[in-house]
């Protein structure tokens, strides 16, 4: 079968994965990042049908859903039985499973992979929990560099009303309660999310995040993402 020559070239962040021929990856990898409660999944759920209606095949994916480790991570979070290094590596296992078994096959088939979070959230969680930044970065050296990372940015004060408008309110993990930072969920949430935001901000330049102000109306953010993604995809053909 004749295939058009692939002039798009993916790269790994570091040592990469064995057995992956990067020249075979024809799709695009688009990441939506940002703190908890910032509206990432809302945007993904709007972008997917839009892309599909424009004729693109889309794989939407998110964290801790892998066939291999997704279930174990859910159990670990319920029972809180793993230490910070083990939990970070469990997340990395889950990520690698999705990267190799979902994202890379989809990219090979020419899909647009739209992922709600990527390695940056996972690295930020690890760094905030006191793990070595250079270490966690090298662990994720197996990850592909995305074509674009949209960072939905908000301040702590903007996150709180969003969290409270959800039926579950403050979440144990999103409040970093495992770190024993504060008296209650609210105190802990403030300290934890402040640390997370500062780690995210520190990644903007290093990883080339495109920053989008997440305090704008949903429609405005959506249009902004459409514009940017549209530009990216025009370069595909």
């Amino acid at each position: 079968m004749y295939e058009q020559e692939n002039n798009h070239r993916f790269e790994f962040y570091g040592e990469g994965l064995p057995g992956v021929d990067l020249s075979e990856l024809r799709g695009r990898l688009i990441v939506i990042e940002g703190p908890d409660g910032v509206g990432r999944s809302t945007q993904v759920s709007m972008l997917k049908p839009w892309l599909e209606s424009n004729g693109h095949a889309v794989l939407d994916t998110g964290m801790t859903r892998s066939a291999l480790a997704g279930k174990g991570i859910k159990q670990a979070k319920e029972g809180i039985t793993l230490g910070p290094i083990s939990l970070s590596l469990f997340y990395a296992t889950d990520f690698a499973d999705r990267l190799e078994n979902e994202m890379i096959p989809a990219l090979r088939a020419g899909f647009i992979v739209l992922t709600d979070r990527y390695i940056y959230s996972l690295m930020a969680r690890a760094i905030v929990r006191g793990l070595d930044a250079a270490w966690i970065k090298s662990v994720y050296g197996m990850a592909l560099k995305p074509d674009a990372v949209f960072y939905l940015r908000a301040e702590l004060k903007d996150l709180i009303p969003r969290v409270l408008s959800s039926p579950t309110g403050f979440d144990y993990w999103e409040s970093g309660m495992d770190m024993h930072l504060g008296e209650d969920l609210f105190d802990s949430f403030n300290i934890y999310q402040t640390k997370m935001l500062s780690v995210f901000d520190s990644m903007i330049d290093e990883y080339g995040f495109e920053v989008i102000d997440a305090t704008q109306p949903i429609d405005t953010i959506y249009r902004s993402l459409q514009r940017r993604i549209g530009r990216l995809l025009r370069e595909m053909y």
Binding site: G14, G79, S88, F90, N101, L131, M142
Partner: protein, 233 residues
């Protein structure tokens, strides 16, 4: 977060490495009995996976859904759990910790699977550097003779069947063990492994192991437990 070589504990960590059939577990068990009899506080770190990680590993192995990278990462997760739960706390408490297999197993096995040696070394940098890492060096044919006769069935990943070296599981195991052995031999210098010639008699090997361990125990307190009843041999 402390990295390899940075940890300072009052306890001591002795680990054994070597290919299957090198006799390392026998030697470690003999060492443990001697240390206990001498009155040291000994903690034996078994490869007791946390149930969570164990379930995931089992699922991955049963369905043969592990790639070299996820194989490496799930074992690193398991190892991290062991470090955080069963190695660092007893070392802080001043115990002598014994471990059957350590990070070098992963370096040898994962590199044989094609994972980047540099990446996997970085991955395990959270590990505590052992006081002494014993490597039981044995020619491939000797180790194969010891185990292939004795064991009932080889397992898929254990035999390296995922590498598609051979359709015959025993032949695949032979080739895979040889690859792992080559990696071990390369690591002797890199990590300063203490080589024990595992073709010698069990008693000779154990005498050497005890002499080397004893040198590291100067000043380590003994904890005789006179109030406890021990079973006599």
């Amino acid at each position: 977060m402390q990295m390899y070589g940075d940890h300072q504990f009052s306890g001591k960590l002795f680990i054994v490495e070597g290919i299957d059939g090198s006799g390392k577990s026998t030697q470690l068990s003999l060492l443990q009995q001697w240390l206990r009899r001498e009155g040291y506080l000994v903690f034996f770190s078994e490869w007791n996976s946390s149930p969570l990680v164990k379930d995931t590993t089992r699922r991955g192995k049963k369905k043969q859904m592990l790639t070299p990278t996820t194989f490496s990462l799930i074992h690193a997760t398991d190892f991290a759990d062991r470090i955080e739960r069963h190695i660092i706390p007893p070392l802080k408490a001043g115990a002598i910790v014994l471990a059957d297999r350590y990070i070098y197993t992963a370096f040898a096995r994962d590199a044989a699977r094609g994972v980047s040696p540099r990446w996997v070394r970085e991955l395990y940098r959270f590990a505590v550097k052992p006081t002494v890492a014993f490597y039981f060096s044995v020619p491939l044919e000797v180790s194969l003779k010891r185990i292939l006769g004795a064991r009932a069935g080889l397992k898929y990943y254990e035999a390296g069947m995922d590498l598609e070296l051979s359709d015959d599981i025993e032949e695949s195991f032979r080739i895979f063990q040889g690859m792992i052995r080559d990696r071990y031999e390369e690591m002797i210098e890199e990590f300063g492994l203490t080589v024990i010639d595992a073709t010698r008699s069990i008693e000779e090997q154990q005498n050497d192991v005890r002499a080397i361990v004893e040198r590291e125990l100067v000043g380590v307190p003994k904890h005789p437990a006179p109030h406890l009843e021990f079973e006599e041999d």
